[in-house]
Symmetry: C2
Subunit: 248 residues, 2 copies
């Protein structure tokens, strides 16, 4: 498990990106992700890869009874405790791969842009299904398989005029580790196909309720013409599922 | 609605491709498609875009009680009647957009590589759900959205050495008509995103059971090294769903 957010250069660059709203989170991922959330009122929620806790606090403001936010990064958890603390939020510095909660305790499991860091998706989904109550919901976003497929130099093909000619797509069926440059060299993500993602959820008894490949908010596109380019390839996928398990 | 299979140049080129097993159907799409089929024994089946009837006959051989095969192309239906006729098969020369069967009459609706020719996917799925019996199944394959996304000159990026450098991906979120060259100019297909395809099925009460992005059979890859290149991008998507409607 790579703990990239505790690399100081990476961490500082990431914070700067988020603080300047220069990334795609604020205009693209967050609005779409939140549009898929079930009613949070009085719910017990687990947030996997909670980062600095912005979402956890938002869930409490929407009426959640209790939120447990976990993250592999000590940096992130420290910042969360400082900036987004609440009596109803418990932050834990633990990788999601090592989670060990009891059966049937969460109404909702949420995860924003973290699952592409996880090597063993099958075990993760199995574990989430165990921790969820019957009829519990899981909503997660991750980098789109179209965005993670290519090995090395993932991204736009730039032509001789310096324009984004098209998105480079390759190695789709070769699942597994991808090393990318993002602020620093060697950021590790895991590529999985759409079929693998969906079939793993189905196999563990989840019913697929909605799939989003979000585009930016119209207002954001008006302020930033560059954003419209994201329509040329999907950067994220967001999936909402419901557990069909019986009480056991 | 374009009736490309009644263009003689296209029709003859297509037949030649299929007769020589030179396309991806035999080694990639057909095995994967058939692996998803529910038990056909004693079932009443509708085959949308049945082409020259090879699949219809196969369904009968697998025990189906009755198969109705429909296709927009007169050429195809004539060939089907000649080469794959059976007392239990009824071939009809009608576009699937104009279908008008009664409610609740089919156990299974199947469609191999035709839905990308249909403009209005929403109406099609609505109609299929109407014609299916409660708990009825739909299995369909179509060109993968990664394969249809690009407008014009869809395909591989060929580098200066004449190699397939990568797959060109573009215009993913711009759904709609695509004109391609395939045997002849101006073959019309419709691009839809993965989210649109899945959410349309879910909206009409279908439960997603399995999604395949097939790769070629191992034996086929051994005989044809070129086939392994298809692993670099998914040419097809195959989806199996079940109707959750109640009797109405």
């Amino acid at each position: 498990m790579q703990n990239i957010y505790d690399n100081n250069k990476f961490y500082n660059s990431y914070l700067k990106l988020r603080e300047n709203n220069a990334g795609l989170n604020e205009v693209l991922e967050i609005p779409a992700f939140r549009s898929l959330l079930p009613d949070l009122d009085n719910k017990t929620i687990l947030d996997l890869g909670c980062g600095y806790g912005e979402n956890c606090k938002w869930y409490i403001n929407k009426g959640a009874k209790k939120v447990i936010g976990i993250d592999i990064s000590k940096n992130m958890i420290e910042k969360a405790k400082k900036e987004y603390s609440d009596d109803k939020i418990e932050y834990k510095n633990v990788p999601m791969e090592e989670l060990d909660f009891s059966k049937n305790i969460f109404d909702i499991v949420l995860s924003s842009l973290s699952f592409h860091y996880v090597k063993d998706f099958n075990s993760l989904i199995e574990k989430i299904n165990k921790m969820l109550k019957p009829n519990g919901s899981l909503v997660f976003s991750q980098e789109h398989p179209i965005a993670t497929a290519k090995k090395k130099k993932n991204g736009w093909f730039i032509n001789n005029q310096g324009e984004k000619s098209h998105w480079i797509m390759d190695n789709y069926h070769y699942e597994g580790k991808r090393e990318q440059e993002w602020f620093i060299d060697g950021v590790i993500k895991y590529h999985r196909t759409i079929a693998t993602i969906l079939n793993t959820l189905i196999k563990h008894g989840f019913n697929i309720l909605k799939v989003l490949e979000p585009i930016a908010l119209e207002t954001a596109e008006k302020n930033n013409a560059q954003l419209k380019e994201e329509r040329r390839r999907p950067p994220f996928i967001i999936i909402k599922v419901k557990s069909t398990k019986c009480i056991n």
